[in-house]
Symmetry: C2
Subunit: 382 residues, 2 copies
């Protein structure tokens, strides 16, 4: 989007020679307001530690984000921290600026040190290649097990929000860490920017789960250059929520081996928190995930998962429906139109609605099935 530049290049980190280095920067390389939301995994990857530190030291200002794929620089100890800092220094040297104004993201295999000789050679090249239309190639260079690049642009209410992302989920992502770099023209103090970013992440990436595992590297960054001349307000919040929600759905549709994207909506729980707990347990249940892969509306396993979730529950009150097809109600299997239900289950996106009949609590979560493709992807030797 206007006022930002980007690029993607191959630095030779991936054996395949595919793009593996990306940069997103302000057009004139000056620092602007910035905010970040990071993994809560205590096995925190080095780039997360370094980016958090830079945002703290700079008071929430950044001029650029440097990314690599193919290696997560996680579980790499002191050497990993030094390498992440060095990536920022080299980027700052090429851009002309201070390394505290550079943020860094890495994604790929965990537990291996970065090939710093290749990265040091690649950074000046990717920085020099930056241009106004470079977002798409930067999105490609962030990919690991992704099969398509993820991009979004939302304009409305006087603001524009652009974003690129990779991976499958936030807080509960799969092997391939979730990263997103967003830009906007809002004129924001860093604290206000972080507040609106946290809200958008809570309603999008944090409601997506692929396999219940949480990455060491998950990062969502937002840079705001102020070109719109307006401070953050409800319109920015809406645009950012739409952008993040769109990217989260793109991730689910491209999740490792997935053949179904399931939008699970839980209503009638004792509280919103209980609805969210039960929804997440059901979404992460291997048995339920396999039933989706088999296009099987297996209500018994879904009811069982809600019964085991530790929330207020009455077997006589739960109602389970796929789309408009009720499959379980009033303590016994319903009698849906079998052909219509089978046709519904063949769709890529399924709406699963579970009402607990207890109270007013509700929650939504986006998840995917568990397929042979997932097993293949994650049983390959690292």
């Amino acid at each position: 989007m206007d006022g930002f530049v980007a690029a993607g290049r191959s630095g030779g980190i991936k054996p395949s020679g595919a793009l593996d280095m990306a940069i997103v920067a302000t057009a004139d390389a000056t620092p602007v307001a910035a905010a970040g939301v990071f993994t809560s995994n205590r096995m925190t990857a080095a780039p997360v530690v370094v980016s958090r530190g830079h945002l703290a030291r700079s008071g929430g200002l950044a001029a650029a984000v440097i990314c690599n794929s193919g290696n997560a620089n996680a579980a790499t100890g002191r050497q990993g921290l030094a390498d992440a800092e060095r990536m920022c220094e080299l980027t700052a040297e090429s851009l002309g600026g201070h390394s505290d104004h550079v943020l860094v993201c890495s994604t790929g295999l965990i537990g291996f040190e970065l090939p710093m000789d290749r990265i040091a050679a690649g950074i000046p090249k990717v920085v020099a290649a930056r241009h106004p239309a470079g977002g798409s190639e930067a999105a490609v260079a962030m990919m690991t097990t992704d099969t398509v690049a993820k991009e979004v642009t939302v304009a409305g209410g006087g603001f524009t929000v652009g974003g690129i992302a990779k991976g499958a989920a936030m807080l509960e992502p799969n092997m391939a860490t979730m990263l997103a770099v967003l830009t906007t023209d809002a004129a924001a103090e860093p604290a206000a920017l972080e507040e609106v970013l946290r809200a958008a992440v809570a309603g999008s990436f944090n409601r997506l789960t692929v396999d219940g595992a949480q990455s060491t590297n998950d990062t969502v960054l937002l840079l705001a250059n102020g070109a719109a001349g307006r401070a953050p307000d409800g319109a920015l919040a809406a645009a950012l929520a739409e952008a993040c929600g769109d990217l989260a759905l793109q991730m689910a549709d491209d999740a490792e081996g997935s053949t179904k994207t399931v939008l699970l909506r839980v209503t009638g729980a004792a509280s919103d928190a209980e609805a969210a707990k039960a929804a997440r347990d059901c979404a992460n249940c291997q048995l339920v995930k396999c039933s989706w892969f088999g296009e099987d509306p297996y209500w018994g396993r879904i009811a069982s998962e809600f019964g085991a979730a530790g929330v207020a529950f009455d077997p006589e009150r739960i109602t389970i429906a796929y789309g408009n097809h009720t499959v379980y109600a009033e303590g016994r299997p319903a009698r849906p139109d079998a052909d219509a239900l089978a046709a519904y289950m063949r769709q890529r996106r399924l709406h699963l609605n579970v009402d607990l009949g207890i109270g007013d609590g509700q929650a939504e979560i986006v998840t995917v099935d568990l397929s042979h493709g997932y097993v293949d992807e994650n049983s390959k030797t690292s």
Copy 2:
């Protein structure tokens, strides 16, 4: 074992015609001390509700356990409760006794009513077929997705404990509910029997997890006929723990589609509870399970899972080893002998030892990998 009889027959519940009805009873059909441990799933299956009620009404006395496979009689509402009661009544009529002294177990698909005409015809036949050596055929008749029957006999310290079981786990079992029926010659009050049974279950079935899902039907029953003339003591506890532990390992080795049984031992945690929490999270992580299927000692994902478990954690202090092969220590990958490690990973049973380096807390858990066979088993249309 002496003083008990059993049988397995086909009642026509399974379309395949395989054995699907089983009975275990005292030899003379008189009630003896009995205890049960049941699922904590709130979507409680009808046979669990009925068996609990019978133990309460009889003051912990039972003469027989009637089982069927092929249908779990779960999520079946009031009709399911009536059907489970009817199974006990029919068994009591055939045996000559009171239905409160009959316990009932069902396993198989959830959410379908029992074919009571077939079951009513089958009960007199299986009851009439009971004989002293019938344990093996009863174990076969309890099987669902099991590929082998599970039996155990332990003698020692003046007691004998016998048992048959089916399924894959307790509290976190897979689709095929975990059931175990144990017998002993101890002379016990029901309360003392329940105490020793709970301890044995806690140290065996409750430390086994296949996929984190909890069944509606999980049941462990113990009948004690008093023939040994001795009250429960440490020797009975040891024999019962050995019997339950042996059956739990048999379940892991036969878990749906599994190719690896992993004995995960966590030490050095801040507390035993934190060790158990982290061990369970790691054992249930789809990514880690897939790495075992691929015979890949992927330390990075294991370290990440412990970092995400919400327990006291320091990336510099965690040590990860497969058998004697240390793969991660002191904040960085170790350098194990690659060939020896690869040979180790090819074994069916793997010992994974994780030391957190924080405190004295420890826990053990038994789990399995995630394979194509599991996906196949659980994506078939019900």
